[in-house]
Amino acid sequence: MRFFELIAIATLLAIFSFSVLSTTAHAQLGEVAGEPTFYVNISGTYSYNYTFINQGSTPIPFKVIITNFRTTAKNATEPIVTASPMSGTIPPNSQIKVRTNVYLPAKNNTPGMRWQGVLEVVVNSTSSSTGGAVIDEGVAKIVTIVATAPKPNYIVEILITLAIAIIVVGVAALAYIRKSKKPAKSARQRTESKTKTARRRAATSSKRSSARRKAGTKKRSRASAKGRKKAAPRRKKGSSSRR
């Protein structure tokens, strides 16, 4: 009897421990509730963090799937949705944030257009099935994107303003340089002209002085000649008297 009792107790203990293991070692994927709507400017971007939870005691390897974003509007350009990370492992009893970026192209899109798609986090299962289907579990987030009017592009405006300012400053600088170069030339010219005039003046004054000198010598010679002429009769008179 004792032997059978021991076996029964051991079996019960094994079943209990197995059940405990099977419940505690179970990975459990979850997500924070809420179906968000992103209001994205046309030609603009929008970012959002999704929180996914592993409530279990084993890590969950996962992959992210982003579906097509559909709209009822014709010829509309689908938003470009990316997520990071696209795969990874959620540690036990913790959570992970998946950053989602949305870019809404401008082509054929107008404010008010709506798109709907799904962001999925699926467990990378290791289970396999031959002749059947493997059932993987995951959590999904239905995302709605609404187009809003494009934001004015301040960067372009700033760049244009900067370019205009640079052009204006450049033109002003050129004008200033030209102006500042011209007076320098004229000063040189002035000095040159001054020296030239000084030389001319000097030349003219020397000519004049030589002329005057010449004139003076002429006068003086004339005067001496006259003096000689006048003195001659005197001599004649004297000579005659002498005679």
């Binding site: 459990q28 994927l29 997500e31 924070v32 509730a33 579906t67 396999s128 059947g132 059932i135 579990e137």
Partner: protein
Amino acid sequence: MNIVETRLRSFFAIMASLLVVSGTLALALGSVAFATTTSNVTANVAVESVCYIGLSTNAISFGSLYPTAQHADNVIVTDSDPNGNAAANVIVFGGNWISGLNSFGVSNTTWSATSSNTFLTTNPLTTSTNPTTTGITIATPTTSANDPSNSIYFGLNVPGAIPAGTYTQTIVVENSC
């Protein structure tokens, strides 16, 4: 005797008065030394709404089938929301059936919210780029029923003229809240 009696009485009276005084002092000191002050600490917690997923099985089998044979929509998968606090909507999608280089389309598998003895073509399985919101919901878990669940049933139509082989498919069941 009277003198002794009176002295004893006075002694006891002094002792009693000393006891009273010391007791009063002890009480006063005790009240000062062991005075307790009470202050309140306000604790806050924001409990977020979450939903989880728990599936009853990770693999289903449709057995051995001939080309053009149909398996009724009665292969059950139970989807639960254990320990969550928000209701969940069930989304499904899948991949093609593959056997080596041979394959047939995902839409040959159908899903249904109810068990059916016939193969229903109304809800063919779609691919991951276009998952299907089934309309099957899992109720909000409560403290008394913290693991609500619901069922989704699968069936299969084997196309004609496909090569014999062991085909496998991946079906993804998701909870969304």
